[in-house]
């Protein structure tokens, strides 16, 4: 975009080589990224891109302005420099900050390559982004929406404020979509004003009736008087979902109206309004993919960045210090950090897979049982044996001859062709003539295949994981052994270790990155060991102590709490229960109560936005926890937590004030989940 800028262009030029090399390395490591286009932008352009969610053009809306101001402030105060932003598209576009040091740029490029791999291969991304034949086409879609909405806002008959209000309303509900059937998401309205699933008259009786009424060509007044909403709704049962519908936005798009303050009635939306609703909803689905894989995706990028930068010396020795500093800053950010959590979980996935591979082989050694595993096997010797081959570990100009010997034996770990080329380019002094051969001094990984690289970076031979085999519990071993056949395959430990698959960890990671999202990722891989080693804990608010306290360090508790943070983007699930509530065309939303109450202030505000999209009174059924003063006092006296009472409540909004009503027990039953419990407070935690 800004390639006319000399400065940026010069910078970009110096990155051509690192970018090409990083791509080659990434592919050698087994990644399959989308092509990436790199752009170098100054900090102002970077702030702008961040404000617009990584894209250059979005529909006109004040929120981008706000994001920008916020980002500019962060930038100005040095609170957090954005090194890069990359968008999920094919090809991906990565924007690098001009002021990054060379080391930073290289690190960022390796990071970006891993993101691009994740974009291209994660199933959830594919579902949300509608990765069809033409690829996600994200930039093009967002641009198209930008143009459409801008054109609408410019129309003389359309009030721009109204357009923004509508966008506000839809955006407030952007998480109220059905993230489990994302395919539906892509089905958007092609003809503005006509939702696909209602334009088919047979499929929707209400739409059919409306179409007929339209043919009568009646004036608006007559039409309102004779065929009012109630009349229509009495005949059109399509408005009432039989099953609760999680895609609130789609329901509102298809059945919502607009409240007309002049007539005091709900009127049909203008076609442009439906266009806007639909466009913003479509974008919500696009970004949902990103939101639901944040931990995985950031962890993935950080993991491969560390392999490429740290492990493969992609940073020159002079650059490595800045790189290490960068890494420390990203991982050392306070709080629960998706980069760090993701990075650690990925490492954990790798470690477990690699360890399992080794254990499975050792358990098959004659005479080894889960019981005698720790005493029979000399684990120090095992660790020793698992160290990478010296020529592989130290691959480079100095080990060329050794590597050539290995290659001659057909060793799969060595890239025989590169070794050969490097040898031919070797001068008498032992240096490599760079014009003739590959730069194996700077890029020693070119000498190795993925298998070779896997051995070089083998997780069990990293110093911090050397104890992993020793720490494996007898129960785990017993569990592995239980279903094992072919138990006495190896005569000796050495024989077993010779067959260890060094790529087991990476292979497992590639599988996981394809099929998981944050929720399943955390659910599957957050083990006791992980929680213990990472010092993770849950905290809860104590009403008695009037502050937050550490509640539990139990892995199950931590996992449950994390799942609460990631399920449905960490937002409560709200579904459509009834589109003709009380037979008055009112909308009834239900908050699926999982033991965690809503923030009522924001819920009421959001309900007002729902009204903008429904045009008639809207209701929200939820359950709140009430603590009586007496219970609180008594609990304080006893040093315990007060018992709350779960009370059903229905909020209603009809354009005036949000009112509160008792909740019909039948509705309460529909929104209450009884199995889930996210409370991790122990009974005696205040003792």
């Amino acid at each position: 975009m800004r390639d006319e800028r000399v400065e940026a262009k010069r910078e970009a030029k110096t990155l051509d080589e690192p970018a090409a090399e990083a791509r080659e390395l990434a592919e050698r490591l087994g990644l399959e990224p989308y092509p990436v286009r790199y752009w170098v932008v100054d900090h102002d352009e970077m702030n702008e891109l961040i404000a617009y969610g990584g894209f250059q053009r979005r529909y006109p809306h004040w929120r981008w302005g706000m994001n920008y101001e916020r980002q500019a402030k962060v930038d100005r105060h040095g609170l957090g420099k954005a090194f890069e932003i990359v968008n999920n598209d094919d090809p991906s576009h990565a924007f690098l900050q001009e002021s990054n040091s060379t080391a930073d740029q290289k690190a960022v490029i390796t990071h970006v390559e891993a993101h691009a791999d994740f974009f291209a291969n994660n199933r959830w991304f594919g579902l949300y982004a509608d990765r069809g034949e033409g690829g996600p086409n994200a930039a093009a879609r967002l641009e198209r929406n930008a143009d459409r909405i801008a054109a609408i806002a410019d129309r003389p008959d359309v009030d721009r404020d109204e357009v923004e209000r509508l966008i506000d309303a839809v955006s407030a509900l952007e998480d109220a979509i059905d993230q489990h059937s994302p395919v539906d998401a892509a089905r958007s309205v092609e003809t503005p004003g006509v939702a696909e699933d209602v334009s088919d008259a047979d499929a929707d009786p209400l739409a059919a009736i409306e179409a007929q009424i339209d043919e009568l060509d009646l004036s608006e007044e007559v039409r309102r008087d004779v065929f009012d909403d109630e009349w229509l709704e009495a005949r059109g049962d399509g408005v009432e979902p039989e099953e609760p519908r999680p895609d609130v936005l789609a329901f509102l798009r298809d059945h919502g109206k607009r409240y007309d303050p002049e007539s005091g009635k709900a009127v049909d939306r203008e076609p442009w309004e439906t266009t806007v609703v639909d466009a913003v909803r479509e974008e919500a689905y696009y970004f949902a993919g990103q939101k639901s894989t944040k931990v995985m995706n950031e962890g993935w990028a950080t993991y491969w960045e560390s392999v490429m930068m740290g492990g493969e010396g992609f940073a020159g020795p002079d650059e490595f210090l800045t790189y290490a500093d960068h890494m420390a800053r990203v991982l050392g950010s306070p709080g629960l950090n998706p980069y760090k959590l993701g990075f650690e979980l990925w490492t954990h996935v790798e470690l477990r897979a690699a360890r399992r591979d080794v254990i499975d082989r050792l358990l098959r050694v004659e005479g080894v049982t889960p019981e005698n595993f720790h005493s029979w096997i000399d684990l120090d010797a095992v660790a020793e044996a698992l160290e990478p081959h010296p020529a592989i570990a130290g691959a480079g100009p100095a080990t060329l001859d050794e590597l050539a010997d290995l290659a001659a034996d057909g060793d799969p770990r060595v890239d025989a062709e590169t070794v050969d080329r490097a040898l031919s380019a070797r001068t008498d002094e032992g240096a490599i003539d760079l014009d003739a051969g590959p730069d194996v001094e700077r890029y020693p990984w070119k000498l190795l295949t993925r298998e070779g690289l896997a051995e070089r970076h083998y997780v069990l031979s990293r110093p911090e994981h050397r104890g992993a085999l020793r720490n494996v519990s007898r129960e785990t071993l017993a569990e592995r052994a239980r279903y094992m056949f072919d138990v006495d395959r190896y005569a000796t430990v050495e024989e077993a270790l010779a067959e260890v698959d060094r790529t087991a960890g990476w292979d497992r990671m590639l599988e996981v990155r394809e099929s998981h999202n944050d929720v399943t990722f955390v659910d599957a891989f957050l083990t006791d060991e992980f929680v213990r080693e990472g010092n993770y804990f849950t905290y809860e608010y104590s009403r008695t102590a009037e502050e937050h306290r550490v509640a539990s360090v139990d892995a199950d508790d931590v996992r449950r709490k994390l799942l609460l943070t990631f399920t449905n983007f960490g937002k409560p699930t709200v579904v459509v229960l009834d589109g003709n509530f009380r037979n008055r065309g009112e909308l009834l939303l239900g908050h699926r109560y999982n033991g965690v109450a809503l923030d009522e202030e924001s819920a009421k505000e959001t309900l007002k936005r729902v009204f903008e999209l429904w045009g008639r009174p809207v209701n929200l059924a939820t359950i709140r926890v009430e603590y009586s003063e007496k219970a609180v006092r008594r609990a304080k006296r006893r040093g315990r937590e007060p018992e709350g009472e779960e009370v059903g409540v229905r909020f209603q909004y009809d354009g005036g004030e949000v009112t509160e009503h008792d909740l019909d027990p039948a509705i309460r039953e529909r929104i209450e989940a009884d199995e889930v419990d996210y409370d991790t407070k122990p009974d005696d935690w205040l003792a």
Binding site: V74, N535, T538
Partner: protein, 457 residues
């Protein structure tokens, strides 16, 4: 479309959603602002969404250096579990206004209309070339003016010669008769001209003019003829010549404008004695801070001085001003003595001066009547204000405000306001700032013009 547009929209939306100004002044967080930027929290500017109650939801944290024990208090970090590192979580957005905007908004909100006076001459600048002088470079000659003056002179001496000559044709009229007649009709003709004309006519006709009798009498002539107006003749015959004279020359030169800066010095005085506890101090801050912003916004240049006192007075920096609490007794006059001293640096002829004092109305003995009131009278200022901060209403022995009000309450330049709780703050501000607005003298010109050099204007 584009960023500029979106930022502009954000400003507009933020303007709409920012905290109401009076609410902000009486309840809001004033400490976020600095003298150049007033920051007003923007109400829920982020779009709402269905969210969990944070307390009910709890969260996950990561211990540094070991597994923490259940029951140990923690501080959940904002933005836990969401956002990029460095991203600010849950922080308020602020609508920022500069003091000028703040002053405008407060004017609107409270219905104030304080018009600052220009005082100190800061520079003399050349204005438009609207002033003229009799001497100057040729290039600045005001040709229009020169021509007009010449033309005027021409018109003043021009007359209908044919008409005047007719007078000589009246039977029996001599030069003197014709001259008297012409002058009687306001024709600017000299007797010498008529005498010349008569001599010429006598020559032409071969007889003295008295013998010419085309007209029976002057009356008969008047009945037939009127002098032709100059303008018509010029239009008919054209302007043959305009008599340019040196004295008609005018040379343009620029007008000299004295710019007077609207400058103000505000002395904030606060009682820091033992009885001024936290709540009282906060009330003072709530009244003084917005007034400082307001005056900063209203004036081109504003200087602030801060005086605290107990039985003695001393000057402090702004940062310290609202926080200090000392132990001693109270003698308010000590502060005014210091104020008088400080204000010597700011002559009243060159500065607008405001003296704002605040306290809980407690004062030593008869200090108020004997010392403070005379001092207040002797210190020239646009406004003297006293703000009594007495949560829960006035204490019986705290009489300072009452006494000041009794003695000076009628004066245009004295305001007394009482603040018992934050809700009173805006009223107090109104009371104080509107006092000057109403009572200030009417001369509120921003600039004064002084002519130089020109005469005859």
């Amino acid at each position: 479309m584009g960023l500029t547009d979106d930022r502009e929209r954000f400003r507009e939306v933020g303007e709409k959603r920012r905290e109401d100004l009076s609410e902000f002044i009486s309840q809001g967080d004033l400490g976020r602002s600095d003298p150049d930027r007033v920051k007003i929290p923007v109400k829920i500017v982020d779009l709402p969404s269905f969210e969990y109650d944070r307390r009910e939801a709890g969260g996950v944290g990561q211990g540094r250096g070991g597994q923490p024990q259940p029951g140990q208090p923690v501080d959940p970090e904002p933005g836990d579990g969401e956002g990029d590192p460095g991203e600010e979580g849950g922080e308020h957005e602020y609508y920022e206004m500069d003091p000028e905007e703040f002053a405008r908004e407060l004017d609107e909100e409270l219905g104030l209309d304080l018009e600052p006076k220009g005082k100190r001459v800061i520079e003399e600048v050349e204005g438009d070339f609207t002033d003229t002088a009799r001497a100057g470079p040729r290039g600045t000659l005001d040709v229009d003016e020169f021509f007009k003056r010449g033309l005027k002179r021409h018109l003043a001496t021009d007359f209908d010669e044919t008409y005047v000559r007719e007078g000589l044709f009246v039977a029996g009229a001599d030069v003197d008769d014709a001259f008297a007649w012409a002058r009687g009709h306001g024709v600017p003709v000299s007797r010498a001209w008529i005498a010349d004309a008569a001599a010429t006519l006598a020559e032409e006709h071969g007889e003295p003019v008295t013998a010419l009798d085309r007209w029976e009498s002057f009356d008969a002539l008047d009945a037939e003829r009127d002098p032709e107006p100059v303008s018509r003749r010029i239009r008919r015959e054209g302007l043959d010549s305009v008599p340019f004279r040196r004295e008609d020359e005018r040379f343009r030169h620029p007008e000299v404008i004295e710019k007077r800066e609207r400058n103000v010095v505000v002395v904030n005085v606060r009682d820091a004695s033992g009885s001024m506890r936290e709540t009282k101090r906060e009330l003072v801050e709530r009244v003084f801070t917005p007034m400082d912003w307001y005056l900063t916004g209203k004036y081109d240049a504003a200087e602030f001085r801060y005086v605290v006192h107990d039985a003695e007075a001393w000057e402090v920096d702004r940062e310290e001003f609202f926080g200090i609490q000392s132990g001693g007794g109270t003698r308010i006059s000590s502060a005014y003595e210091l104020v008088a001293e400080i204000l010597e640096e700011y002559p009243y002829s060159e500065w607008n001066r405001y003296v704002f004092a605040a306290g809980d109305s407690e004062n030593a003995g008869s200090d108020t009547t004997e010392s403070v009131i005379p001092l207040m009278e002797s210190i020239d200022a646009n406004l003297h204000a006293y703000v009594e901060t007495q949560p829960g209403g006035a204490a019986p022995n705290a009489r300072h405000a009452d006494e000041v009000e009794k003695a000076l309450g009628d004066a245009d330049d004295v305001a007394v306001a009482r603040v018992a709780e934050p809700a009173d703050v805006t009223d107090a501000i109104y009371e104080i700032l509107s006092t000057e607005a109403e009572g200030g003298d009417a001369a509120s010109e921003e600039t004064a013009t002084a002519g130089r050099g020109g005469d005859d204007r």
